[in-house]
């Protein structure tokens, strides 16, 4: 069986990090699926879903790393389009993952001790961000 839910996240953008682990866990529980997997998919091109530790120092380091690789201030060709100026966010998004899959066993997410499901929204302005959670299994 497949169970799908879409949620809207309230973020300020600009590398906002939202921990959605509990929301994913709650949805998995509500489906009653005992064995299977859950897909968490980000429906945008300026952010990511990652598995990581929700720790301030790690996130600061991650921001610093991306600032070195794809700085906010740079002449991105994307900006020539004149619609928006978020070239850095698109570049960073391609370097991360826009979906993660977590196994489910006995109705529980098989995450490690420090693993959490984090959504990173790097859009330059606050906007509704959409996330798909899809559980498959039995």
């Amino acid at each position: 069986m497949f169970y799908t839910k879409q949620i809207v996240l309230d973020t300020a953008g600009n590398f906002s990090v939202v921990n959605v682990t509990d929301q994913v866990r709650d949805f998995v529980t509500s489906t009653g699926v005992k064995h299977g997997q859950v897909l968490v998919f980000y429906k945008h091109t300026t952010g990511a879903v990652i598995i990581g530790e929700h720790e301030a120092g790690i996130i600061a380091d991650l921001q610093d790393m991306f600032e070195r690789i794809a700085p906010v201030l740079h002449d991105y060709k994307h900006h020539l389009k004149g619609v928006d100026f978020n070239g850095h966010a698109h570049m960073r998004s391609t370097l991360m993952t826009i979906n993660v899959t977590i196994p489910i066993l006995e109705g529980e997410l098989l995450l490690g001790n420090y693993q959490e499901i984090l959504v990173i929204d790097d859009q330059t302005e606050p906007a509704p961000r959409h996330l798909v959670i899809q559980v498959s299994g039995e």
């Binding site: 949620i7 809207v8 996240l9 309230d10 300020a12 906002s16 990090v17 939202v18 921990n19 509990d22 929700h54 720790e55 301030a56 120092g57 996130i59 600061a60 921001q63 606050p126 906007a127 509704p128």
Partner: protein, 203 residues
């Protein structure tokens, strides 16, 4: 190596619910992500004014009620906030696991007139001393972040590297680290206790 001497807990989001969560629940009875974007942005900016004391609690409620076209009166919203604020599960017990050698501070982003009845009802002074209470609205801050970090470090009379802040707001927790404090992103009391343990802060 960390030598933490003072630990600062945000009231909103760590000890009790954040103000916006209570307000949105009373005004809309649904999660904030379901609210129209204009009102979300408005409430997001308005709360910053409350935090740094540019407006008082009553004015905040009046403006929030007006913007959201709620049938509630501002006075009713204030009453509901102070009556419905509730402790995060197991939070005071977790704070109490810290050895007394740590200075425990409480940063109240709730205005004083809301804090007093809440603190009495929830017995917050069993866990925090009145002289180690900071109201963000009374600090004469130009902006909440990063000014509040330097204010609390000064108040505690500790070195910035010896101060730790517990915050549920991820960007603020990251800013704290960038300004030289230790910080922990609060998710729940269990995870906080694990963090204290990992840092070898528990007796």
């Amino acid at each position: 190596m960390e030598t933490i001497k003072a630990i600062f807990f945000w009231l909103g989001g760590v000890i009790i619910q954040p103000i916006p969560e209570l307000v949105v629940r009373e005004l809309y009875d649904q999660p904030i992500e379901n609210i129209v974007i204009q009102n979300r942005l408005y409430l997001g900016e308005l709360i910053q004014e409350l935090y740094i004391g540019q407006i008082d609690g009553r004015s905040y409620c009046r403006m929030a009620v007006h913007q959201c076209q709620s049938a509630l009166e501002a006075e009713d919203l204030e009453t509901k906030i102070t009556h419905r604020a509730a402790l995060q599960p197991l939070i005071l017990e977790t704070v109490d696991t810290l050895p007394s050698s740590y200075q425990r501070w409480l940063i109240s982003d709730y205005p004083a007139e809301w804090f007093r009845p809440i603190a009495e009802r929830l017995d917050l002074f069993s866990c925090f001393q009145e002289e180690r209470l900071v109201f963000t609205s009374s600090c004469r801050l130009t902006r909440l972040v990063p000014d509040i970090f330097y204010h609390i470090v000064h108040r505690s009379n500790q070195s910035i590297k010896d101060c730790m802040i517990i915050d549920s707001v991820t960007p603020r927790a990251i800013q704290a680290v960038r300004h030289g404090l230790s910080s922990t992103i609060f998710v729940d009391a269990k995870r906080l206790k694990r963090d204290f343990s990992l840092r070898k802060m528990l007796a």
